[in-house]
């Protein structure tokens, strides 16, 4: 039986087919790890009590309640205030890419989105879902009801990354759509000209929204593991290129780093949280980023 933390690893998660379970396991694993970490109690507060049962951590016993009731109660955490969150999924064809035939970028993003949705619903934060390719294709209005999670997961599970992408236009459309200050969590590989994307991001920020940009790349897109003579094909444009991979690796890695650095700098300037991910990374990095971001708001 894998430990709860092992569900943070993509290679473990991909063995679970149901998205709700995936989200549940990821969050549990995350919280389990969090209890044993310096982040314990970092920005979440208990929201309810429940009776202590064997196997619970005794650290969690609320001694004040015990003094009053002479019974052991365990604290449950919840956020003090609520924040409306939007999970924004990129549906572009390039998101379906996986080199190792494990989790695609899209799968990775879906898992992450589901986990975040789960976390937020459990803290009674209203959360909505938006999916786009060259424009917004699906949207689910935010809600904090328990049933919302099922709706989100159901919608997420049915999304297919097949289209051409226009991130800038889609984000602009989203910015126009949002009425209240929200937390916009974007899951995309951002394979579009940055100069076009940046104005859209700024537009979101100007709208008073908090933005977390989850930049998801495939492991191969970061590492460039090819050797020798290869012919590469761009899935969206079908453009082909034959290269000697050995001589391109260093150069490519540098290009990717420059690309990420460009986003990092832009996001820093606009106070956007930029999280560079690849499909081989554990999910907790992204979740932690969310928690850090949430705490910073209060």
């Amino acid at each position: 039986m894998p430990t709860a933390e092992s569900y943070l690893r993509p290679e473990v998660i991909r063995q679970i087919s149901r998205l709700d379970l995936r989200a549940q396991f990821i969050v549990r694993g995350f919280l389990q790890g969090l209890h044993a970490s310096p982040f314990h109690g970092f920005s979440v507060e208990f929201s309810e009590h429940r009776e202590y049962t064997a196997g619970d951590d005794p650290k969690g016993i609320d001694w004040l309640v015990y003094a009053k009731t002479d019974k052991y109660y365990i604290k449950k955490f919840e956020a003090e205030t609520n924040i409306t969150g939007y999970l924004v999924m990129d549906l572009s064809r390039s998101m379906a890419y996986t080199f190792r035939q494990e989790l695609t970028k899209f799968d990775y993003g879906i898992c992450l989105a589901a986990a975040l949705g789960y976390l937020m619903i459990h803290q009674q934060d209203p959360v909505g879902l938006v999916a786009f390719d060259d424009r917004i294709r699906h949207s689910l209005a935010p809600a904090s009801k328990r049933t919302q999670l099922a709706n989100i997961l159901s919608l997420l599970a049915n999304l297919q990354p097949t289209g051409q992408t226009d991130i800038a236009a889609s984000l602009s459309q989203l910015a126009a759509m949002l009425k209240h200050h929200s937390l916009v969590m974007i899951f995309s590989d951002l394979l579009a000209p940055p100069d076009e994307v940046f104005p859209a991001l700024r537009q979101l920020r100007y709208g008073g929204h908090d933005v977390i940009l989850f930049h998801i790349l495939d492991e191969a897109e970061v590492q460039f593991p090819f050797q020798g003579l290869v012919e590469l094909e761009e899935p969206e444009t079908n453009e082909r290129l034959t290269i000697d991979a050995n001589h391109f690796r260093a150069d490519y890695q540098r290009q990717i780093e420059v690309f990420r650095e460009e986003y990092r700098r832009e996001c820093f300037q606009r106070r956007i949280d930029y999280v560079a991910l690849d499909t081989s990374m554990q999910f907790d990095k992204a979740l932690m980023e969310y928690l850090v971001n949430r705490r910073a708001r209060f």
């Binding site: 590989d189 495939d218 012919e231 590469l232 094909e233 899935p235 001589h247």
Partner: protein, 726 residues
């Protein structure tokens, strides 16, 4: 550049294979989907250039590798001496040993051949590994490369002096031919000789020069093992007054003793012995002569012999005393003594008077009385020829025949066919012409046309002896061989021929044996069956007082020795004596004429080395030939058991010129080989020096292999980087 296996160069055509593969079957790159292609775009152009360059570089390396492989297998080699001299590159070497009898010259207790062998072994030992070595000698010029150096040394060890020897330069040509076939770049020829004139042709044969020109780089080394101041007493070629003689005839054995030594050397005393076999066949000294010779002098020695019984007799002349070269200290001879030849003289009546001149010429009365006459002559009237048994006679002279019976002509024809010798001396009685022609036609050399009277052309006084003059000077017929040394000293002009028959339409098989000075034929020879027939166009039976004019006075004139000699030579020719050669030079093929009564089908030949060889004779063969007489000495043939039976023999001698030790000048050696540099050495130290200055050439195989390995290595690295699996 030369190639050991030029045919393998064709393999370089395989170099086209990578080009074809490159063009036709271009390798497909592995395909992948990759969304982040935009990050590669910027480097795209640089990459494509580099890719193309890589492709071409890889292609070039593969082509080069295949071409180099073909080149390496073809074993290229550089010829040029000035490029990369390497003493250890293999050499094609031919060692030519002089094994002529001169090489038996002993100095410092070593023959010249032994010295040459020692030198030869040393040379073979000095040759680089993988060299090709051929050992040739002047005995057999079988030019092949030995399997290895050990085989070459063994061949050198087995060399021996051969009496039969080819000219050294001819063997050198064989060696050059062998070198021309060799694929090795460096070629060397070594001549191990005593450099004496006997084995050295001074004029360079055109073929030798041609062979030298055809060869590229060639080192010529002459190893001089000759004695610097040779001293040699030698017997020159033996001369016999006659090789086939009738019983009791005398014979003179002659030779010459020659002393070869540096000027100023003291004179030498020597004894020349003549040995003949005794009753048991062992050689016993029969006579001896003392000679005293100063350097460069020669002296003739004659040994008159006689009283041989019938049969073949073999003797030798021998020089006594110590001599450095023993090969020319003995000479061998063979004489064949036959019973007194019976000659039938059929003369016109009165035969007692007409035939007596010829009978006297062949068997003078004085000799008959002393029992020394070679011929026994019976004189009959030709009218009785058809009644006379001819078989007992070895020769028949038909003098001035008239119209005989056809039976008589037929009998004579059968006699000749069966192997007898006959001479027809035509005279005035051959009349009437047509009738005579008809009867005698099978025996005549052509059609009788008429009688010439050259005597009448000269307006001399009546009875004066004028006419056509016979000629023997400059003739080549064996019948006249005794006249040849006399040249113009024969006074034929004292014996003119006044009348002679003229022939027309001569038969093909008839040859002119003797002519007149005016070119008209005087004597014809025909071979009919196994016998010989001579036809003289003038008479040998005319009396001195014959009317109207004697046809000639060849046998009746004053001191008619030329006529006597001619008659004797004719008789000897007819009895098969003049052609009976029994003394040969080594290597010559001996040809012994078989007599009709010999009946030999197989024989045993005993050689001078004591070997007994069996041989056979074809039925009805006229001569028995024995080839390959390579040892000097006596050869004996026998058939029909050890007692009685058939016995013959002959001798072989090394020609006197073959043992001349006079040395050849270095300039002459150089000029023999034309423009080529000849390295002459007398010692191993000299030889080493000569070799080190001239050895050249280098095989490129190792170099090509290294380049090939580098090309293959680079190809591997490049291809690995190019087509590596992910």
């Amino acid at each position: 550049m030369d190639f050991l296996n030029p045919a393998l160069l064709a393999g370089s055509a395989l170099a086209a294979a990578p080009i074809v593969l490159h063009l036709v079957l271009k390798q497909k790159p592995r395909q992948f989907e990759f969304p982040a292609l935009r990050f590669l775009e910027q480097r795209r152009q640089v990459n494509e250039r580099r890719l193309r360059l890589r492709h071409w570089l890889l292609l070039a390396l593969r082509v080069a590798a295949l071409a180099l492989l073909a080149l390496a297998l073809a074993r290229p080699s550089m010829q040029a001496s000035h490029v990369l001299a390497d003493r250890e590159a293999p050499v094609a070497a031919v060692l030519v040993f002089d094994t002529s009898p001169r090489m038996a010259y002993r100095q410092q207790n070593q023959t010249r051949l032994e010295a040459a062998q020692e030198f030869g072994r040393w040379i073979v030992g000095q040759l680089p590994e993988d060299s090709q070595v051929a050992v040739l000698d002047t005995r057999y010029a079988t030019a092949v490369f030995q399997v290895d150096a050990a085989a070459a040394k063994l061949r050198i060890d087995r060399l021996e002096i051969a009496s039969l020897s080819q000219p050294l330069l001819q063997v050198v040509q064989e060696g050059l031919r062998l070198l021309a076939d060799s694929k090795l770049a460096r070629k060397e020829i070594y001549l191990l000789t005593d450099l004496s004139r006997g084995g050295w042709q001074t004029t360079s044969p055109a073929a030798l020069v041609q062979r030298l020109d055809a060869l590229g780089d060639l080192g010529i080394y002459v190893i001089d093992v000759g004695a610097t101041d040779p001293r040699n007493v030698a017997l020159a070629d033996i001369k016999l007054s006659s090789q086939v003689l009738a019983a009791n005839s005398p014979v003179i054995v002659s030779s010459e003793v020659r002393y070869e030594a540096p000027a100023g050397s003291p004179a030498v005393d020597r004894t020349v012995e003549l040995d003949l076999p005794d009753a048991d066949g062992k050689l016993q000294r029969r006579s001896e002569l003392a000679v005293k010779l100063a350097p460069g002098q020669s002296q003739r020695v004659d040994f008159p012999l006689g009283g041989f019984p019938i049969g073949t007799h073999q003797g030798q002349l021998k020089l006594s005393g110590e001599d450095a070269l023993v090969a020319d200290d003995a000479r061998y001879f063979t004489v064949d003594v036959q019973p007194t030849w019976k000659v039938l003289i059929a003369a016109p009546a009165p035969a007692g008077r007409t035939g007596v001149y010829l009978a006297e010429a062949l068997a003078p009365e004085q000799w008959r009385k002393q029992g020394l006459a070679r011929f026994h002559c019976d004189v009959i009237d030709w009218q009785r020829l058809d009644a006379t048994e001819l078989a007992p006679y070895t020769a028949v002279f038909l003098l001035d025949p008239g119209p005989m019976t056809p039976a008589a002509w037929q009998r004579l024809l059968e006699y000749v066919h069966a192997g007898g010798g006959a001479a027809i001396c035509l005279g005035r009685r051959a009349q009437p012409l047509e009738e005579f022609q008809r009867a005698a036609d099978p025996l005549l050399p052509g059609r009788l046309e008429g009688i010439d009277a050259p005597g009448d052309d000269a307006a001399g006084a009546a009875g004066a002896t004028t006419g056509a003059i016979l000629r023997t000077a400059g003739t080549s017929h064996p019948l006249l061989s005794k006249f040849v040394p006399l040249a113009d000293a024969v006074p034929w002009d004292a014996f003119p021929v006044a009348r002679r028959w003229r022939f027309a339409d001569t038969r093909e098989q008839s040859a002119v044996a003797m002519s007149f000075a005016d070119g008209q034929p005087a004597m014809f020879e025909q071979r009919l069956g196994r016998g010989r027939l001579l036809t003289l166009v003038t008479s040998l039976s005319d009396q001195p007082d014959e009317r109207p004019i004697p046809w000639n006075q060849l046998l009746t004139g004053l001191e008619p020795w030329p006529g006597f000699m001619l008659a004797n030579e004719m008789a000897l020719y007819l009895v098969d004596s003049t052609e009976g050669q029994l003394n040969y030079a080594v290597g010559q093929t001996a040809a012994l004429r078989l007599r009709p009564d010999d009946h030999v089908t197989s024989y045993v030949l005993t050689t001078p080395t004591g070997d007994n060889l069996k041989g056979s004779v074809a039925a009805a063969a006229e001569t028995l030939t024995v080839a390959g007489n390579e040892w000097p000495g006596h050869y004996q043939l026998r058939s029909g058991g050890t007692e009685g039976g058939w016995r013959r023999g002959y001798s072989a001698n090394v020609p006197a010129d073959a043992s001349r030790l006079e040395r050849v000048a270095p300039d002459e050696v150089q000029s023999t080989f034309g423009k080529r540099t000849v390295h002459v050495a007398r010692s191993q130290a000299e030889m080493e020096r000569e070799i080190s200055t001239s050895r050249v050439g280098r095989e490129l195989y190792p170099l090509v292999m290294v380049v090939l390995a580098v090309a293959l290595g680079l190809e591997q690295i490049l291809a690995n980087r190019f087509y590596r699996q992910v």
